[in-house]
Point group: C2
Chain length 582, copies 2
Amino acid sequence: MLRSHTCGELRITHVGQTVTISGWVQGIRDKGSLLWIDLRDRYGITQVTIETENAAKELVETARTLGREFVISVTGKVNERYSKSDKIPTGDIEISPEKITVLNPAITPPFTIEDETDGGDDIRMKYRYLDLRRNPVRRNLELRHRLAIETRLFLDKLSFLEVETPVLIKSTPEGARDFVVPSRMNQGEFYALPQSPQTFKQLLMVGGFDRYYQIVKCFRDEDLRADRQPEFTQIDCEMAFVEQEDILNTFEGLVRHLFKSVKNVDIPELSRMTYADAMKYYGNDKPDIRFEMKFIELNDVVKGKEFKVFNDAGLVVGICAKGAAEYTRKQLDELTEFVKKPQIGATGLVYARYNADGTIKSSVDKFYNEEELKKWAAAFNAQPGDLMLILAGEEHKTRKALSELRLEMGTRLGLRDKNTFACHWVIDFPLLEYSEETSRWHAMHHPFTSPKPEDIALLETDPGKVRANAYDMVINGVEVGGGSIRIFNKELQAKMFGLLGFTKEEAQAQFGFLMNAFEFGAPPHGGIAFGFDRLCSLFGGVDVIRDFIAFPKNNSGRDVMIDSPSPISDVQLNELAIALKK
Amino acid sequence: MLRSHTCGELRITHVGQTVTISGWVQGIRDKGSLLWIDLRDRYGITQVTIETENAAKELVETARTLGREFVISVTGKVNERYSKSDKIPTGDIEISPEKITVLNPAITPPFTIEDETDGGDDIRMKYRYLDLRRNPVRRNLELRHRLAIETRLFLDKLSFLEVETPVLIKSTPEGARDFVVPSRMNQGEFYALPQSPQTFKQLLMVGGFDRYYQIVKCFRDEDLRADRQPEFTQIDCEMAFVEQEDILNTFEGLVRHLFKSVKNVDIPELSRMTYADAMKYYGNDKPDIRFEMKFIELNDVVKGKEFKVFNDAGLVVGICAKGAAEYTRKQLDELTEFVKKPQIGATGLVYARYNADGTIKSSVDKFYNEEELKKWAAAFNAQPGDLMLILAGEEHKTRKALSELRLEMGTRLGLRDKNTFACHWVIDFPLLEYSEETSRWHAMHHPFTSPKPEDIALLETDPGKVRANAYDMVINGVEVGGGSIRIFNKELQAKMFGLLGFTKEEAQAQFGFLMNAFEFGAPPHGGIAFGFDRLCSLFGGVDVIRDFIAFPKNNSGRDVMIDSPSPISDVQLNELAIALKK
């Protein structure tokens, strides 16, 4: 037996017992007559104390050979500490060792195994197994475990069945790029790794499974941004005999359950916002509603004076930052620089301070007098002490820029606390969006999303106006989940593929199995998928999803720890009947 | 709202309520004045009864257009049935409909959606979504769900953390053939799909995770036997600071928990058998111990007479089939044919009947008199009424053949009931086995398995004699799980790779990350993996694992439903910088 207790378990009630604990040497202090070892495992730290003059010579010698991260086993008596520590749960006791066994020595790690480490990102990724020893990293993965098991318990209680769908599936051109797997038994042919189990979960509904879920790896061969991984995890769900309302209620319940059971946070019923309102009031289809600061459109208020910028603009729109009238010139210049960054793209920022004394000073006083500015203030419903910030230009671009400015102001004013959670639904997404690049319509969600029945007629006349029964769950401005009611009728599905530029033959070749399935009695159904990595990071109050993945890949899709991907042998290439192109 | 209740839910207590149920039309009986519809969903069947003369004309018309597998919704009143059925839980009630809505019509399915279907394997695989509607198939997947969730609950209680390991990893030549994934961002390089998360779970132990599990997809590109799938699922587990005893106890607990919670079967503590004994007494490293019928070695008893076959044999060994002395000549001939089949490979079968009257008649009476045969009976501990069956030949081959005969006799004598479960451990496997084909040692379990400390010296002198801390869990003659205590020392791991024919450079290139990790303080650790598909089939009392996989592949690795694998476009090939060989 290598341990009787963990390093996080012993308390004052254990005093007098002889125990064995095992773990890693976190640190050693050698004061000559006294020598302390902090022994660490996943569960905590326990102090081992040696009175060197009274202890066996061998034991002291062994202790003095130990270094950081040595793996040892200690057998000894639990004693009450002379000077207790309230910093750790085992702080009342210490172990007086009878025996120390070195289970495995350790060379010096390339960075310190502490909550705050001296290791940079690259070295920590290369030695990920050492990084995993650090409390913050382990806690993130413990949180992930807890979220997964609570998700399963909640859905199991509601009669959802976890069904594993295949990983080796079929490549389809719609959507992102597939990872493919050459088939040796069917040479010249390939499997694809799933971007989502979408068609399989729909077939499960056709198969009468009624309520399905899976916490499942999905894959996309995309150029990686900082926050994307080639393999990622979804909580994937589907229900039959439901309408949108049933799905919203069910998965609102899931998220509230997760907050309550994992973080002991009560989340109120989720509010709902249409996509149209989200764009109108926040310039964003995933607004952060921890704070209000809604967009106020000012065309009617500001146009017709001598300020050409406003007069020429498709849209003049602003936000009112409560209590920010005291912003200094320097702060306002910073905001102007912020909105002029290429990724934000505004040409300038107009501001108006509503001073505490009731006066209003703007950056365009030349064109607007106090009386005019009072009208602005009225439009903003601004109070003395508030700061009005205004952008102008082409409508879509200006909304997008103002959305960024709003988030920036929210951050600056401390309105985006990571421990406050504002969850809501965005609904009524458009079914299609037009791409100038490909000169055709694309599915905003995916080709299986159902148009709203009342909008189906518009498919022929004005496809861009068709709304979908599609919904996103947004928490703190992050889209954590999205889904839709699906098409379950062969003709409508065929029409949808037609709109998306598929020939009949292409649609049949790629999705014939699904359309055929719809002919054999497909029930109404719909579902949702949550980005599990993202959900974990949100619960953990950290922005980087990589911190919530045990063995992540870097931005080039490489695992630098195992050095993958890597070349394969000619034997393997020959067996697969493929060759590398030079 | 598409339903207020499911089709399995309504009881006599609901009588008088107006409800809405939805589902598939299982069948219709039209007797003119009365028309019955059996409506089915995942939860059950509810009878809808229409008195055609009293019902609205439209409703009757709609009902008369319905066919099998139409998806409909029925709103109506719950009535007590005139003639109740005790065959279904809803048999006390029926629905008198006010409204029937056809949600989706259905064309005639290619096979009947009944427990006993008329569809063959091929057609059922092509229309798997229809096959999934059948109760036996759905029940198998419900069982799988239940086993998964109970596994998670049990391990969660023991502080195991579920950690997701990567799917895109690195190809290594040891073991079976890998599926590979060409990398677009790192052209000329490939990921591999994991055959198991072995190295990652070991790195989690180095990373201090202490107790890990995962229910995880694994992949092997092997020529498929009837019972193999290219993608399969494991319950994969690892523990640190443990010895073999800890692991056996923990996972014996898991399996007993699963039997109790899922099947309400009490499994006693698992017995243990060494590999050596398993081979000696059963000729098999996964003996079915639902019945005894141990091997009895007869060299000392039968040699030295004039029967050349026995005299020349390396081994004469037999089994005693209790109560089978009455076997007819025809039955005995069948057994002889059985052992002479090429896949069994014996040259003949010797038998001796211990008749009820105390006489013994053998097939070799020419060489052995009654007195001699009594000695045989004594060796077998046979009683009047028993049948002794004896094979002779080269030792290894003969044991293997007798193992098959033993299983055959077990089946013939009804000793292998699918609802009886005999679980045990086989331990002390050899570390290595020699392959004549490759003229080198191969790891019997895998290269990370630790030799028993007391056998390490034999690595230099007699590698074939080295026993490993490796163990298999066997249920009813099926290996459901296997694992080992791992090497956690760099030098021993390097020596192991050397024995397996790796050069130092190869070992470093492929497993350097793991050996390096061992230098930074690796704890003693070990683990186990269960074949989850197999475990499900065993719990379900069915031999075919395919029945427990929602969307399985056929023996050519094809998914005939979605028609995968399939060719990919030249654009895809070009992006990946690979070409097909003609």
